[in-house]
């Protein structure tokens, strides 16, 4: 549906284009000069590829907050209550004989070490691992029938972010930035907020632009690590920096005079102006000192656990970015940690002690973010999507106290604009092993999120390598049952 983001001046004036179409090149140059005189090649036309663009139809949501828990959060110890699993604790799982999953053979069915309790008006059963998030039960819309195509973390992250297990495809945030541009004038359209412990396994590919233009890639920074290269190098004094930029501006303006109407050259001049504004606005948005004591406390900034406090600062940063009109935020909880549950939710060996560490880091700050978004009215036009790469087994791994990977069934949840509150859609079987009812996957979720943003997922495409590519590939369906 979208125009290709090539700029008008480029077709007419670039050197390669000129040489490759020598016969018409000179004519084009002459035409460009005439058009420039007429003002038809307005220098700023299309210069900003991030300018806000209208959706296909009236949107319910203006922006997206994705909360991504790296390492594969066990649905069976958080959101998906299975009485049968408690009843049959210690027994072999029926219907599967010597089931081998990612790390090997499985032992017996094992109940969650955390109690489940009814929450809110809906009485939704949620575990004691996430007590503060559980207080939001009446606002959440659970997708219990989620599935993934892979049982491996890297491809699983790719799948949940891009719709493909392979690398090289644009992330959902990049697609949304491409589709809608940004309402935040001096900030990136798409921001990825890495966890205080580090980046997820696939690193920047999780917020990559794939084959979309680089302008749509996620810009990664968090409350403790600013945007790369945002700051002037310490060895260059402020005054020297300013006069260098003045001289640069002078050079570029002189140069532009001899290339009138070249939108690409003016776009590049604008990009330096935006960079200068970003140097002012990005530190401002990251400066949490003006937040009230109550807000800081709500987010756990005073927590004795430095990771809770650091994730809390990231959550607060997310709210401040959403307030300023950033279109898409990917907020990460957990970092890359191969095969162990130390830095993320990959609880293979000791799920109890691992999750007792990870639960509190996520719970209070993420719950505070929901509370705060709701209190400020932001939840009315923001859609929130909590996810992880896949689920975990209802059995413990043979010889361990943890659960192996399970892409056959897991839970994600949504809340906010246009999404039913206190609602559950989809089911896994009686043990939580496989999705059996209202089965969904990443394509349905993103088709739905695009729908909420006013975009027809079938029409959002980008021509690459012979195909009009889509975020949802050849799949997807809007999950109408969860919409208000």
């Amino acid at each position: 549906m979208m125009r290709k983001p090539l700029l008008l001046g480029r077709h007419l004036l670039d050197r390669r284009g000129f040489l490759s179409t020598m016969s018409t090149g000179l004519g084009a140059t002459a035409l460009a000069a005439l058009l420039a005189e007429d003002g038809a090649l307005a220098a700023d036309a299309d210069a900003n590829p991030l300018a806000a663009k209208p959706p296909h139809f009236r949107p319910r949501a203006k922006r997206v907050l994705q909360i991504f828990c790296s390492g594969a959060v066990s649905h069976l110890d958080t959101w998906d209550y299975k009485p049968e699993l408690i009843k049959r604790n210690g027994q072999p799982m029926p219907g599967v004989d010597k089931l081998v999953t990612f790390q090997g053979e499985n032992g017996s069915l094992t109940r969650s070490p955390w109690e489940f309790k009814p929450r809110g008006q809906t009485g939704k059963m949620i575990s004691e691992l996430v007590p503060k998030l559980a207080e939001h039960a009446d606002d959440l819309c659970f997708l219990h029938g989620m599935t993934s195509k892979t049982n491996t973390h890297g491809p699983g992250e790719m799948f949940m972010n891009t719709g493909f297990t392979l690398e090289g495809f644009p992330s959902a945030g990049a697609w949304v930035a491409y589709a809608l541009g940004s309402e935040a004038r001096d900030l990136p359209a798409y921001v990825a907020i890495p966890d205080p412990r580090g980046v997820p396994q696939q690193g920047p590919l999780n917020w990559g632009n794939g084959f979309l233009p680089a302008v749509y890639q996620g810009t990664a920074f968090n409350a403790d690590n600013p945007i790369r290269h945002l700051e002037r190098p310490s060895r260059i004094p402020l005054k020297a920096d300013a006069s260098t930029k003045d001289f640069l501006k002078f050079l570029n303006e002189e140069h532009l005079k001899s290339h009138p109407g070249d939108a690409e050259l003016s776009a590049r001049i604008s990009s330096y102006e935006l960079a200068a504004r970003m140097q002012l606005s990005a530190p401002e948005v990251g400066d949490l000192s003006g937040e009230s004591g109550a807000t800081k406390k709500l987010y756990g900034l005073d927590s004795p656990n430095p990771l809770t406090a650091a994730f809390g600062r990231n959550c607060l940063l997310a709210r401040r970015l959403l307030e300023r009109g950033v279109r898409f935020i990917s907020l990460y909880n957990g970092a890359f940690a191969m095969g162990e549950g130390n830095l993320n939710w990959d609880g293979h060996k000791r799920i109890k002690s691992d999750y007792d560490r990870h639960g509190p880091i996520l719970d209070q700050p993420a719950a505070a973010l929901l509370t705060d978004l709701k209190a400020r009215g932001l939840l009315e036009d923001t859609v929130v999507f909590w996810t992880t790469e896949f689920g975990r087994m209802p059995t413990f791994q043979k010889g361990t106290q943890g659960r192996d990977h399970n892409p056959k069934g897991f839970t994600a949840w949504m809340t906010g604009a246009g999404v039913k509150r206190g609602f559950s859609f989809g089911e896994t079987d009686e043990f939580g092993y496989q999705a059996v009812k209202d089965i969904t996957s990443v394509h349905e979720v993103y088709a739905t999120i695009l729908h909420l943003l006013g975009i027809d997922f079938n029409r959002l495409s980008y021509y690459h390598n012979g195909a009009d590519r889509r975020l949802t590939d050849v799949h997807g369906k809007v999950i109408r049952a969860i919409l208000t």
């Binding site: 920047p204 590919l205 794939g210 233009p213 260098t244 002078f250 570029n252 290339h259 590049r268 990009s271």
Partner: protein, 117 residues
């Protein structure tokens, strides 16, 4: 960039902001986008700052410390032409206040250096 050694699945920290194609997929045609992050990268990234300093040293080595001679050589090397009178004057003003690497930093960020229209 013409040749570069890179792991196939790793996003490049420098060229990633400049539409360096992801090596996981075939990219028959490179995207061209213009972003503020590219500007920040070229203004403040260590690659360009280091190169600016080395360029300043080279000018000094080749033509001594005369500002006008340096500026002429700098423009010839960076842009393939001599500076006009006004440019030469402005460049001299700049190096007086900001030092010789500043001149190179500006030239390397200039549209005339980045694009060959």
């Amino acid at each position: 960039m013409i040749y570069q050694f890179k792991p196939r699945s790793q996003a490049d920290p420098t060229f990633g902001a400049f539409d360096c194609p992801d090596a996981s997929l075939v990219a028959p045609r490179r995207n061209v986008s213009t972003t503020a992050l590219q500007a920040l990268n070229l203004l403040n990234g260590s690659l360009l700052i280091d190169q600016s300093e080395q360029f300043a040293q080279r000018l000094n080595r080749e033509v001594g410390n005369d500002p006008a001679r340096q500026t002429r050589l700098a423009f010839r090397l960076a842009f393939g032409r001599a500076p006009n009178e006004f440019e030469a004057k402005q460049a001299t003003v700049l190096i007086k206040t900001a030092g010789t690497p500043a001149r190179a930093r500006a030239l390397f960020n200039a549209n005339e250096f980045i694009y060959i229209p």
